[in-house]
């Protein structure tokens, strides 16, 4: 059917399909504002604008952990979580792996990366290989130290735990998505005297990591790691835009909460109307 005829048929239907939902206009505007902030921040950062990121002790300690492994003549263990590459935490973990691998290459330290997914293994190999090339130590790169273990959560944990007890790594890195295995891994690492650095956005696992690791990247810090490590204007600009948006949302939330409270206390119809309008615009009931 030709397109004009199709459009005429849709327009004349009893429930015509529409491209836009009129009630969601505020959300659309928000989308454009956020996009504009991200683009603006990136352009600003590219033009030499200084974006300051507060120091993240866990990332600063990577050199120290690799140095410890070098002095002790022991390997390092990097666990990129137990999820596949479709999980953003795994992607962030691979970014950190690049940095750890580059430092390991510079110090000529041994790094071991057991993976739960074949695709993660492939990505990790690529990242580590690139890091060794960047450090000018491509001859030291050993792909056999980055390998697949099992898709099964506890089969993997059993292997990793056994590896720690046998090889006594001097440094353990846990960056990615973790669940029940977090404490088992971190406690094993602690018991063999390793410096441990962890990063995850799984809030339920963070207390375990904080208690048993030397340094822990908490949620957002983990995602900021990429920008922190690379220092690239595009990533720094994006991070800046995210922070601005968070600040705007926080201010709006406080203002609206105050407005709702005042409306309830004073029975002000105008304020109630404003709060209801914003609630409706944001998709609330």
């Amino acid at each position: 059917m030709p397109l004009p005829s199709l459009l005429a048929q849709v327009a004349g239907a009893e429930n015509p399909a529409t491209f836009f939902t009129p009630g969601k206009g505020v959300l659309a505007a928000s989308l454009f504002v956020v996009a504009a902030l991200v683009i603006g921040s990136i352009l600003w950062a590219r033009s030499g604008g200084r974006v300051r990121i507060r120091r993240i002790a866990g990332l600063d300690a990577v050199d120290e952990a690799v140095g410890r492994a070098t002095e002790m003549g022991r390997p390092m263990l990097f666990v990129p979580g137990i999820q596949d590459m479709d999980n953003i935490q795994t992607v962030a973990g691979i970014t950190v792996l690049s940095r750890v691998a580059r430092t390991a290459a510079e110090y000529d330290a041994e790094i071991e990366v057991p993976c739960t997914r074949s695709l993660v293994m492939t990505s990790a190999r690529e990242a580590v290989h690139a890091a060794y090339l960047g450090a000018g130590r491509s001859d030291s790169y050993n792909p056999d130290r980055i390998y697949y273990v099992s898709d099964e959560q506890f089969a993997y944990v059993a292997y990793a735990g056994g590896l720690m007890v046998r090889r006594k790594p001097a440094a353990c890195f846990y960056f990615g998505c973790f669940f029940a295995e977090s404490l088992i891994l971190a406690e094993n690492g602690n018991s063999v005297g390793a410096i441990q650095i962890a990063g995850t956005a799984e809030t339920s696992q963070l207390p375990f990591f904080v208690a048993s690791c030397d340094y822990t990247l908490l949620g957002e810090e983990f995602f900021a790691a990429s920008a922190y490590l690379s220092g690239e204007p595009d990533q720094l600009g994006t991070l800046l835009a995210q922070d601005i948006v968070k600040a705007i949302v926080w201010v709006l939330a406080v203002l609206l909460a105050l407005a709702a409270t005042v409306a309830a206390l004073t029975h002000s119809e105008s304020l109630s109307g404003l709060v209801d309008a914003v609630r409706a615009a944001m998709g609330g009931g």
């Binding site: 002790a57 600063d60 120290e64 070098t70 003549g73 022991r74 000529d108 963070l206 048993s212 340094y215």
Partner: protein
Amino acid sequence: MSLPHAAKSPPPPDRIQVIVATDCGSTTTKAILIECVDGHYRQTQRGEAPTTVEEPFADVTLGVTNSVTELQELSGRRLIADDGTVIRRTSPTDPDGCDVYISTSSAGGGLQMMVAGVVRQMTAESAKRAALGAGAIVMDTIASNDQRKPYEQIQRIRELRPDMVLLSGGTDGGDQKKVVELAELIAPAKPRPRFGGEYQLPVIFAGNKDAAPAVQRVFGQGFDLSVVPNLRPTLEQENLGPARDRIHDVFLEHVMAHAPGYDKLIAWADAPIMPTPGAVGDILQTIARKRGINAVGVDIGGATTDVFSVFDGAFNRTVSANLGMSYSISNVCAEATMPRILRWVHLPMDERELRNRVKNKMIRPTTIPQTLEALVFEQAVAREALRLSYEQHKAFATTLKGVQQQRTVGDAFSQAAAGATLVDNMKLDLLVASGGVLSHAPRMEQTALMLIDSFEPEGFTELAKDSIFMMPHLGVLASVHPDAAMEVFEKDCLIYLGTCVAPRGQGKAGKPCFAWELRGAVNAKGTMNVGDMQLVPLAHDAQCEMTVTPEKGFDMGAGPGKAVTRTVRGGTVGLILDARGRAIEVPGEEGARRATIQRWLDALSVYE
């Protein structure tokens, strides 16, 4: 009858009544006479003579004899025998000679070392700490992660002519491969020692004990290798003592024995000759231990500035090689920048003229300021040189890196990193200054203000200066008679300038900062506003109970806003109340800046 003789072991402390000590510097040999007067050890005479280590004399003992002869002339006690040696007393009633002769040396550039370790921030840093603590100048630090290619490292090793090499690396039972690789870099590079062509370069190995046999094989012939316990047996532990002791032994056996005249000097001395900075470090540690305090010492010279610190028993020394007041003055100006130097100056000055003055000082290092303007400028440069040296010291004097941390869930948002500085100005009890610009400032107030502006002490800090640089002599004396060393240090070595009372924090100029009250030798009280300084006269031997109640936002050591009571000591300057806050801020606008500096100078009568 008194007979000259060479003694190797000193008599027991209770038999030591007369002590002759010398410090053989690069240009001057300084001698002091210490005598037991009415049961108290006092420094009674001082003499000095040019050092004679270089040609045409090429015999360090000539300078020693000359300087001790001056002591002899001043004291009336015969100390030098006809053959030029130092006379020893034969009995407690013998009017001639001394009971003990001791010496330090930094002649011919002192002890120069190269150190190496596997990881720069770990074993290499420990090796550097050991070498510096023993009084050496560290010429370079080689590490497997120092960003240099092996051929660059070998080139560098070949260029250096160290007196000895300290090699470390690997924990016990840890890495062997890289420490042996380091040995394989050093051995073929064959660094040549400074003194003597036939002399085998001493190498001290203080690394993984399991790697020692392999390291011995690598060095084989051509090196004088000695193996001592590991500097870092585990990464959690630093064991510098054996390496430092071995450095001292090697310094005596090899380096000094090959320097002109030192074989005779070693035979004369009753205790091992120590490198001058090592002796200064020893006396500072002794005083800190005996008084249970934290102390910082600084010696600012023409080419270098040494900073020593003892915090909670941990000793550290740094040498800022390019920060000094004559040979290195240009570097101070370049590193600090002229605006930062001139922020301390209250007089109008032409920057172009100052640059000429700096270059003149560099090429004529022995000149001293002839005008008030020149003095003010030199002291401004000194403030920046001291500040930069102290910053370097803070960065070096840190807790150990590579150590496993213990956390609780409560640490989630405050994960302090390892390697934090040990230097805490709030815990600093005593700040000792030496070096020409500090020791020979025309007024004591100038020395005190230079120290306060550059070190920014917090809480209660005693300020003192070693006016005739006696600390090296006392450092080596401490190894023979610690009580005598302490007594002379307190009574004759240090000139107490007073106590600085300064809260930590910042506030708006003119707002209340703290209230104070003195009870005892002086009874007074008052309040200080932010940005003010005040001098309360308090005599050298006077002590008072002082209560300081800081405002909210200011801390005297007990927490913000909490009152602190301490016994404070007076001095030649007195009690200095400093409410400028920390860090000290100088106004940016020129007129306001000069007025502010003038106000601070007036408060302490610095240039009156």
